[in-house]
Amino acid sequence: MEKELKKISKEVRKDIILMSMRAKSAHTGGALSCVEILVALYFRIMKVFPKDSEDPQRDRLIFSKAHDGKALYAVLAQRGFFNKKILDGYELDGGRLPGHSTRHCVPGVEISAGALGHGLSMAAGMAYVGKQDNKKFRVFAVLSDGECDEGSTWEAILFAGHHKLDNLIAIVDYNKLQGFGYTKDILDLEPFSAKFGSFGWEVKEIDGHSFNEIIGILSKLPLKINKPSVIIAHTIKGLGGVPIHINQVSSQYKPPSKEEANGVIKKLKI
């Protein structure tokens, strides 16, 4: 099982690297850190309909860390939501894929985001309606650690806990690097789990690159009846990318050169 997912992840990483290289785009590190999370969600956990992306029964993925949109695009393309060729136009003149993922730019992208701290509120609104109307769908929200600085994120956390939205699952890509440094040096989120816990959420911390752990925990949802779930996924920014940028602030800004991209892709051994 893991073997197939690992193979898909390699393809996704390759696409992310190529998109970054072509568009000379930023935000490569955070795209690489959430690859396993997205692959597990789209290939094992979520009920999705790639050929009918608006099916009301689908599980919703709210990609709040939209600056890493290319990770979402690459996974959606791999899952068959749209033709992979569309990835070639990422962030380029006349292309369909904006740097920050935008609602319905391609099938499967549920929301427009980019300004941080917006996604969880929208996810909570969807989950509230789902619960009120007895719908079976679940809402998964993928957040960055940086956007947990935003007050609006905590408003949403407070709201979801209060309303016992157990059909809402937040996954924090906790790569511990934000825009201009380490989260612990800028605005420390720790004790992160305890904060969520005290807001009425059920929390689990996992290795966000281990399919065993991601799938293991996401197969048991909700983690607790009448509580929203949050998975704090410990990840490494830039993992699988250009070695000098791994776990460095530079992974957020430096696109790979052609040589660097070739080197990375060669190492992936696809």
């Binding site: 996810a123 909570a124 969807m126 509230y128 309606v129 009120q132 408003e155």
Partner: protein
């Protein structure tokens, strides 16, 4: 205005189960009946307007029609980015309702005054801006905003505003209402100052002037036709609003007149570009900002004489 809005919404919500009323912890003595009879269509979001706006966007994506409600600054400025990105950018069917236009919350001081909302919201694509001028227009605007699929902002006063219309006017989003026709001066009033406009018109008529009075209940999209028609019919146009002189109705009308090369005397009457240092009732605050009936009449007559 507030009571009329709530009663109208209540009647609509009984028939349309998609309607959700979300409040930022306001509505004492106004929402009680609605809450009692329609508990599933009501949600107190707490004092968390950013989240309220995002949640409303999420609900709209799931087919609901959320109305978010608070005092003007808190439901338009605190959450401006959520209005821009979550509602307008995604073009979702969310209705934004602000109470306390202008100096409605006079003594509460500037944190609670609604003086910049039209100016900032006018810059947002996809957003309809409705500023009804009396309770009759409020009821009509509330119905119209439900029938419009997409984002709408409804700007309300507070309580006690009298009806200006003597009969039920025809109300269409984007179409100003001609209340009286005249030859000398056009006054275009909006929102909480429609009543003041009516008072001013009555006084000016007593002075022998023939006045054309328009209620501009929609600021966006703006009724350019009625503005240009006024420029042809009267040699002078004045706009009247309980909003900053910058960015509101006056600015919007000025844009239309200038870009259409209208040959007309024009002046904006609104709240000067400053934070008032005094406090007091709505009427006191209006007077402190040149918006009593006598002050407005003087402004108009002086401007015409100079011209």
């Amino acid at each position: 205005m507030r009571i009329t809005f709530v009663n109208t919404l209540f009647e609509m919500a009984k028939k349309d189960k998609r309607i959700m009323l979300l409040t930022g912890d306001l509505g004492f003595s106004v929402f009680e009946q609605y809450i009692k009879e329609l508990p599933k269509q009501y949600l107190n979001m707490g004092v968390a307007e950013q989240n309220m706006t995002g949640v409303a966007a999420g609900m709209a994506m799931e087919g609901k029609i959320p109305f978010i409600y608070s005092i003007v600054p808190f439901v338009t400025m605190r959450n401006f980015e959520q209005i821009r990105n979550d509602i307008c950018y995604q073009n979702l069917n969310v209705k934004i309702v602000g109470v306390g236009a202008g100096f409605s919350y006079g003594p509460y001081a500037h944190t609670h005054h609604g003086l910049e909302d039209i100016g900032i919201l006018r810059t947002l694509a996809n957003l309809i801006i409705l500023c009804p001028g009396d309770p009759i227009e409020v009821a009509l605007a509330t119905k119209a905003m439900l029938n419009h699929i997409g984002p709408v902002y409804l700007r309300l006063g507070r309580a006690g505003e009298p009806n200006i219309h003597k009969a039920m006017p025809s109300f269409k989003i984007g179409k100003g209402i001609l209340i009286e026709d005249g030859k000398d001066i056009t006054i275009i009033g909006t929102s909480t100052l429609l009543q003041r406009a009516w008072e001013v018109v009555s006084s000016l008529k007593e002075k022998g002037l023939s006045i054309r009075l328009i209620s501009m209940h929609t600021i966006k999209p703006l009724d350019t036709q009625i503005i240009l028609e006024s420029a042809r019919k009267t040699p002078a146009i004045f706009t009247l609003e309980e909003h900053s002189i910058i960015g509101g109705l006056g600015s919007a009308v000025a844009e239309v007149l200038v870009e259409n090369r209208a040959n007309v005397i024009f002046k904006r009457i609104g709240v000067p570009d400053r934070f008032s240092k005094v406090i007091g009732s709505q009427e006191y605050m209006r007077r402190a900002n040149g918006l009593s009936a006598e002050q407005i009449i003087e402004t108009i007559l002086n401007f015409i004489n100079i011209s």
